[in-house]
Symmetry: C2
């Protein structure tokens, strides 16, 4: 089975995507399967809901924007995706759920991973009284030079 993802032919066992949905207990509907393929079948991705909806449309997948939002939120709640708040305008969804940090290009609005341990946060402070640390987000904002 071969299908197009972002312009190149990718061979992937169908069960990959199906397994992901089964593991988190989401029914493998046509829409969820299609979105999961677009998200997970081509390496690490950073997309907004709008971008994923457009991509789905270009690939002939009929799905509403509301369902894209709902699906992204369900995937995030299930731990399949990670949400990255870059600015007050939009959220990005990252298929890489391992702890890592990001570059954000302020000119192109593009979000990219910072590889491995290229950044290290040393000397983490204690959380304020009565709280525990949930996550540490590092966003390095860059611009064209």
């Amino acid at each position: 089975m071969a299908y197009y993802v972002t312009g190149m032919i990718v061979k992937r066992p169908f069960s990959d995507v199906l397994d992901r949905l089964n593991v988190v207990g989401l029914r493998p509907t046509r829409q969820r399967m299609a979105l999961a393929r677009l998200l997970f079948d081509s390496g690490d991705r950073h997309v907004t809901a709008e971008q994923l909806h457009q991509q789905a449309t270009h690939h002939g997948v009929k799905v509403s924007l509301a369902t894209v939002y709902n699906t992204l939120n369900q995937f995030t709640a299930s731990g399949l995706l990670r949400e990255v708040a870059v600015d007050a305008r939009r959220s990005y969804f990252d298929t890489n759920t391992d702890p890592h940090h990001h570059f954000f290009n302020q000119d192109t609005a593009e979000l990219t991973d910072i590889l491995g341990a290229a950044v290290a946060v040393s000397r983490l402070p204690d959380a304020p009284a009565g709280t525990v640390i949930d996550s540490v987000d590092v966003i390095i904002r860059v611009r064209a030079n």
Copy 2:
């Protein structure tokens, strides 16, 4: 001259706030002066536009929400404030413009400064080709324990 700011009496030379506006070339209108006092006359603050507007209203300052937004944006563009993107919902404006990082309490939506060098980012990666680093934002998300 004494006036109320967040519930306590604060004495501050009027010229403080006036100087700030003069330095960045913004006319000291009644609204801008009042908002600047609320922002800068009581230590480091983290406010949303909505919060500042409510505070102004409680202090008897008549100003529209649109003007609060415009003023916060002008102050940010002038370097008087720093904008912190915490989630896709709202922006915080921080009166502390020195490089520093933040705790964000996900339960209370409260943003607080991380003191001095309590956090250090070591080994900054190179920016992607063709770009330069503009700023490094570290947000440590915490929640009640």
